[in-house]
């Protein structure tokens, strides 16, 4: 079965006064229907830029997008704005971190959901509003026939995000991109929203791209993880593989540095030294090398050449971009990293 979404060698460059900024660099991944891919990275890693490229929202801006993005048989990068526009909202939809900012302050929630449905369906305004009520009900908003007349500011944070989801799913898209959908929410509400997304996915077989910085959220929601650093994918595999036998020193750093509810809280956290690089001055070679604890293991290679993204073993679907050989990585992981997990 071919994947619903397939991204091949995606690169996005922004020409700026300080030079050309490579926000995304030769990214390749795929998502099948009914599956969730978690794209994980810190600020400036290129994860949000990637999602905007998939929706083709950078068309008409100065961003230079190259590579291929196949959505349901249509190639987005080379398609014209009108072709992509017909897919937006219908085949692929997006929800954002800050639902209050992402909803129009002057239109009612019902109007905004109905609008999304009206664009792609030949129905009356009344039918579209009925669809809005149905969708609000589906995402768990009580008294939806009344609440469609509310404005976004009259909703609570959790309800706004539910309304965003209702809007995004109103046309039954096959792909949903969720950009930090729960970051602005309280943890009990976050749990509700993640559960709702899982339920809806089961019901409609939606492919989901979940963009987040939170490895916990990914572990609970995603099937696959794509770990990004300075615009490049540095590790890619199933959730189980990446979280349990992580290969990249950055993944090691992230997993050992996050505070958890298990383990000895008196031990200091294993912090990653330094700070994420600015995209204007990405370190040469492996972008992570100035922060990597194991940079000495392979001579001067790390600072001089960019490692390729390779499967950790022949025939494996777990990829990593690191100069260390698999045996060396395994021995470091077992002796120095696993004890801290």
């Amino acid at each position: 079965m071919s994947a619903f979404l397939e991204v091949k060698n995606l690169s996005v460059v922004f020409p700026t006064e300080d030079g050309r900024v490579q926000a995304v660099d030769s990214l390749s991944f795929s998502v099948e229907k009914g599956k969730t891919l978690g794209i994980v990275g810190e600020s400036g890693s290129g994860k949000s830029v990637t999602s905007l490229s998939i929706l083709g929202l950078q068309k008409g801006t100065r961003a230079e997008v190259t590579g291929e993005i196949w959505v349901d048989g249509t190639e987005i990068v080379s398609a014209n704005e009108d072709e992509v526009r017909k897919l937006r909202g219908k085949s692929m939809a997006m929800i954002f971190q800050d639902a209050l900012a992402a909803l129009h302050p002057y239109y009612t929630v019902g109007h905004q959901i109905a609008e999304a449905y009206l664009v792609h369906n030949k129905v009356s305004k009344k039918q579209a509003l009925a669809r809005a009520v149905e969708m609000l009900d589906r995402v768990g908003i009580p008294e939806p026939h009344k609440r469609i007349n509310d404005y976004p500011h009259q909703f609570s944070g959790g309800m706004r995000q539910r309304a965003m989801i209702a809007m995004a799913l109103s046309c039954n898209p096959s792909l949903l991109i969720a950009d930090e959908p729960t970051t602005a929410l309280d943890v009990t509400v976050q749990a509700q929203i993640l559960e709702l997304l899982r339920d809806l996915q089961k019901e409609f077989g939606t492919a989901i791209i979940l963009i987040t910085h939170d490895l916990g959220v990914v572990a609970e929601t995603a099937d696959d993880i794509l770990l990004m650093y300075a615009g490049k994918q540095i590790e890619y595999g199933t959730v189980r593989d990446v979280l349990q036998i992580p290969q990249h020193p950055y993944a090691w750093g992230l997993l050992t540095s996050i505070p958890r509810l298990t383990g000895d809280p008196n031990l200091p956290l294993t912090a990653i030294q330094g700070t994420p690089p600015s995209l204007i001055s990405v370190p040469s070679g492996c972008a992570f090398n100035p922060r990597c604890n194991y940079v000495d293991q392979v001579g001067t290679l790390c600072a001089s050449s960019v490692p390729d993204l390779l499967p950790i073993a022949q025939g494996q679907s777990h990829y990593v971009r690191c100069h260390m050989n698999p045996a060396l990585r395994e021995s470091i992981f077992t002796t120095q990293v696993r004890p801290h997990l």
Partner: protein
């Protein structure tokens, strides 16, 4: 609604801060033309003690009053009622000039390292301001002392003349910590000090604050929404909900056997970065959002989202009572 029973630890350590019946009501919008202002009950009858050298975590979701509590303790806000006894003195009703000598002992670290530093001042100026305000001249001069502090918090002392925008988010939070540390305060209130930072930077700052606490014998009140972060920093944890403390206990007790349903739900909602833990843990899904603090539910404020709620929960507010190692405000504790 107030929780009058004293919350503290009884181990006979020196109590540096004792908060009792602390309440803050903000005026909200007017209800009608001639009506009164609505009242936002941000903090309502909060009591606890903090021992010298201890770090107390204050956790809860948005609107629970944890940040307001922090600002009341550091007297950036004036309490509506209740007392804040710091180092033997009730500071809850002091005016600005009376507060000045206390400020050097009572410092605050803020969430947003971008907004809390003046962009037009150099790092040197920012960190030396506390000395100037309090007219303190340290041994060897202000500059030497500031550079020492910069080094302590992991910044390059040669960056004395740089401006905040030249630093990354994590480094800026270090500047904020340096400023708070300048006068060797006795108590630091840290309000969400790591939540604006990248994941890989959070651990650096948590480790730094932990080291400082150990090295200088500082007392910390650590305010955060992230239970995992609090677990790595605080020795004792108070859970707040809608302006009340619902549970307070030492860390291990609270995390291993939460007594209040809200604490339990909160803990079960934290996503864990471990695929094996997913599904293995008991899940409690609260319905709905936190209610509006303008019109909090009667009786127990958590009852509208609680799966254990009975009639009594609506009619009477549970007092914070000692059950084993824990103090909990619930009619039906676990």
């Amino acid at each position: 609604m107030s929780q009058n029973s004293k919350v503290g630890n009884d181990s006979g350590e020196e109590i540096i801060l004792s908060v009792s019946g602390l309440t803050k009501h903000f005026p909200g919008a007017k209800t009608s033309f001639f009506g009164k202002h609505e009242i936002v009950q941000a903090v309502d009858g909060v009591s606890f003690d903090v021992a010298a050298g201890e770090s107390l975590g204050l956790v809860g979701e948005s609107g629970c009053g944890k940040s307001t509590t922090g600002r009341l303790i550091t007297r950036l806000l004036e309490p509506t009622a209740g007392t804040v006894v710091f180092d033997g003195q009730d500071i809850s009703k002091l005016n600005n000039s009376e507060l000045r000598p206390i400020r050097s002992d009572l410092q605050m670290i803020f969430q947003d390292p971008y907004a809390s530093l003046n962009p037009r001042h150099t790092v040197g100026t920012i960190v030396s301001t506390p000395f100037k305000i309090n007219k303190v001249v340290p041994e060897g001069g202000v500059k030497k002392r500031v550079q020492e502090i910069l080094e302590i918090v992991g910044l390059n002392p040669e960056h004395y003349n740089r401006y905040p925008h030249e630093f990354s988010g994590g480094q800026r939070q270090r500047i904020g910590i340096a400023r708070a540390l300048a006068l060797r305060p006795k108590l630091i209130v840290a309000d969400e000090p790591v939540s604006a930072l990248d994941v890989s930077i959070q651990a650096q700052i948590i480790n730094l604050m932990k080291d400082l606490q150990k090295d200088f014998g500082l007392t910390f009140i650590f305010i955060a929404h992230d239970l995992a972060v609090v677990r790595h920093f605080a020795q004792r944890v108070a859970v707040m909900y809608l302006g009340n403390i619902v549970e307070i206990a030492d860390r291990d007790t609270l995390y291993s056997s939460p007594k209040h349903p809200y604490t339990k739900a909160l803990l079960s909602a934290v996503p864990e970065a471990d695929p094996d833990a997913v599904g293995a843990r008991e899940r409690i899904r609260l319905t709905g959002d936190v209610p509006n603090p303008i019109n909090p539910p009667s009786g127990c404020r958590f009852r509208t989202r609680c799966w254990k709620a009975q009639d009594i929960c609506a009619s009477s507010a549970p007092a914070l009572l000692q059950i084993g190692q824990t103090q909990v405000a619930c009619h039906f504790p676990e």
